[in-house]
């Protein structure tokens, strides 16, 4: 389908309003990204992968202001974990609130010069690969315009998790962050992300997981009701490597989380999971594309959404098994728990398989709380609200089980319990 003029105009308008930085080793990558974006245009409502989620708020020139939200009624997530804290305020690195990035081997995108850098092989590279067969213009926009982010290269097991903390202080902030993470062979890293980031947030995370390396990613997207975000994870996995990503989303008017994972080495394992809870004006979209391009790889997609008072959940998940990717084990489940009739869940699971010796399964369901289970719990003396929370958490359990670290999983569970307590009735 030809790209409509409106989409091209939108891209030009957006680029014109942004300062696409010049210079530095990223200059060529940025220039290429501008060209990609100018050819694709920005997403429109009629695009196949934007049918359920209106991209207007993400593509328009100015961010819609978002009221600040006071989340001081609970301690920030991951607080109990010994980690390296790197704080971004409205998308800008804040050294005063952060640990020393250099001590943790982290470099800042904002302080890069023209010298040759390892991240040249990564910045915009995985994003570019991820543009086919499905265009992801907002990621190209990110590569073109991002001036902030981190560059992390790990050669062994990292001493501590690295925690990127995104604070939202301005009602009109429009943040773009681009992170590159490279795990060399056998390395291991846990990356934590939390916070709302900005009124509008566009983030790209490119992750190269080399042979035998292990990457754990856990993020919590902040409780701000009015925030809007589009995020992309682009990952490439080498042989016998592991990639695990879990996202907790509570509140937010609009969240589109894309994950584009490519299993390129034999025996690699990629898991991507999410638990989203929304009450009222809430749209949460998980769009996932997993490509099996090697033998005996395993992938799992586990997405659960709890929706009430008109909240909307979207899931678009694809497993592509390339010719020769024999013994692939692909699994995909997307489920929603609709707490009332006003809420809805839109799911589009896809499998495309070109190898003949594979195991792929997918399932998608929408349902209400099981009244019989509720009665059973109550008949044992568990009060209605508590019984409902117990069943909601039980519904989310399979997604939370994707977090390997039990301390972090417990922290996430506690957030969800608190959210449910606040959104009772």
């Amino acid at each position: 389908m030809a790209v409509t003029q409106a989409k091209l105009d939108a891209a030009s308008a957006r680029l014109a309003a942004l300062d696409v930085p010049a210079g530095g080793w990223m200059a060529a990558a940025r220039k290429d990204a501008v060209a990609r974006l100018q050819a694709m245009g920005l997403p429109g409502k009629r695009d196949e992968y934007w049918r359920y989620t209106d991209p207007t708020a993400l593509t328009q020139v100015a961010a819609t202001p978002a009221a600040l939200f006071d989340a001081s009624d609970e301690a920030p997530v991951f607080d109990g974990i010994d980690r390296v804290r790197l704080v971004f305020v409205d998308g800008v690195f804040d050294p005063a609130q952060s640990d020393d990035p250099a001590a943790a081997g982290v470099e800042l995108l904002s302080r890069q010069g023209a010298e040759i850098h390892w991240a040249q092989g990564l910045y915009g590279v995985l994003e570019t690969r991820g543009q086919t067969p499905v265009a992801r213009p907002l990621a190209a926009l990110n590569t073109a315009a991002a001036t902030e982010g981190v560059l992390i290269r790990v050669t062994e097991k990292a001493a501590k998790p690295i925690n990127l903390i995104y604070l939202h202080k301005s009602e009109t902030s429009d943040a773009i962050l681009h992170h590159c993470v490279k795990l060399e062979a056998g390395a291991e890293l846990t990356l934590l992300e939390n916070g709302p980031a900005a009124a509008r947030f566009n983030k790209v995370l490119e992750v190269e997981v080399a042979d035998g390396a292990r990457f754990h990613h856990i993020r919590a997207q902040g409780r701000d009701h009015q925030r809007r975000a589009v995020t992309h994870i682009f990952a490439r996995l080498g042989a016998e490597s592991l990639f695990k990503s879990f996202t907790l989303t509570a509140n937010g008017v609009l969240t589109r989380n894309e994950a584009v994972l490519e299993l390129t080495g034999d025996d690699a394992v990629a898991h991507v999971a999410g638990a989203a809870v929304g009450d009222g004006d809430f749209l949460h979209d998980d769009t996932v594309f997993v490509t099996h391009a090697a033998e005996r790889c395993e992938s799992r997609q586990v997405f659960k959404k709890v929706l009430k008072n008109g909240a909307v959940g979207v899931f678009q998940g694809k497993i592509l098994v390339k010719p020769g990717a024999q013994k692939t084990d692909g699994y995909q489940i997307s489920q929603s728990l609709l707490l009332d009739e006003a809420s809805q869940f839109l799911a589009k699971p896809e499998l495309e398989i070109y190898a003949d010796d594979v195991k792929c399964s997918h399932g998608s369901t929408s349902g209400a709380i099981d009244e019989t289970a509720l009665y059973y719990l109550r008949s044992r003396g568990v009060p209605l609200r508590q019984a409902q929370s117990l069943l909601v958490l039980a519904f989310l359990a399979e997604a939370i089980a994707e977090i390997e670290d039990e301390t972090i999983a417990e922290d996430v569970r506690a957030r969800l319990e608190a959210w449910l307590a606040r959104h009772e009735g």
Binding site: T372, A373, S379, R380, G381, L384, Q386, A394, F395
Partner: protein
């Protein structure tokens, strides 16, 4: 003491009347059995007493130690001391059996203004009680009733009963789906809980359960009412001759 007077119940979404003026008194410390043909309303009685949705009480009352049960929420009835061992225990994926039990025990304690049981104390008590019902640690870790055999589910019900220490226990066809050995085990679990302050209402189709749980009083239920009351010999009469003779006599 459970006192049911003139209880009339119909289905909520249907004009179908199921209980038609049921009267029943179970004295404290006694074991009463209810037998009756299919469709006589036995299970409905257990559901209505425990507060399941879908039924409408059109007349009558049911009190436990003088407190009206029918106006309470299911959890309030449980806290007041009522327990129903389900004919078909419900599977709850994602909720661990141990978590479920501890949540229930502490919720009831909280509702009664008692102190919650500590994790350590709870574990000690539950292990001891589970052992006597041959419930192993693995079963306690699994989600509630998920993947349990018929016998395991029923034993799990009795474990809940043992942990919650109710005043009034209703056993709804607890023998259904059990082989002889499993039935003995369940009956032993129930018998261990018999005491002066606890009453039982055992709903069953068959005499054989009553060989193991010896009732003080046996009632015959038909068409939504108790139609005959007697001693344990009444159960034997049903076993030998079926319901037809008794029903012909009373109706």
């Amino acid at each position: 003491m459970l006192e049911i007077k003139n209880l009339h119940v119909k289905l909520e979404d249907d004009e179908k009347v199921i209980l038609k003026g049921l009267n029943l008194t179970v004295e404290t410390g006694k074991v009463h059995a209810i037998m009756g043909p299919n469709g006589s309303g036995k299970s409905t009685l257990s559901y209505v007493l425990s507060g399941r949705d879908g039924y409408e009480v059109t007349d009558g009352s049911a009190t436990l130690d003088g407190v009206e049960l029918l106006e309470m929420e299911p959890e309030e009835r449980a806290a007041a001391g009522l327990f129903l061992a389900f004919q078909y225990p419900v599977e709850i994926p994602g909720v661990g059996n141990m978590t479920f039990l501890r949540t229930a025990v502490n919720a009831q304690r909280k509702a009664r203004g008692e102190e919650e049981m500590s994790a350590g104390e709870f574990l000690k008590v539950v292990r001891e009680k589970a052992k006597s019902l041959k419930i192993d640690a693995e079963m306690m870790k699994r989600p509630v009733n998920v993947g349990f055999s018929g016998g395991e589910k029923k034993r799990n019900e009795i474990l809940q009963m043992a942990m919650l220490e109710p005043k009034m226990c209703i056993l709804d066809e607890t023998d259904s789906g059990l082989d002889v050995d499993a039935m003995k085990l369940v009956a032993e679990g129930v018998n261990a809980l018999r005491n002066e302050g606890r009453s039982f209402l055992v709903i069953t189709h068959y005499q054989r359960l009553l060989d193991h749980i010896k009732p003080d009083v046996v009632h015959i239920m038909a068409d939504g009412r108790i139609v005959k009351t007697g001693g344990p010999e009444l159960a034997l009469e049903v076993e030998n001759n079926g319901y037809a003779d008794i029903l012909a006599e009373v109706l």
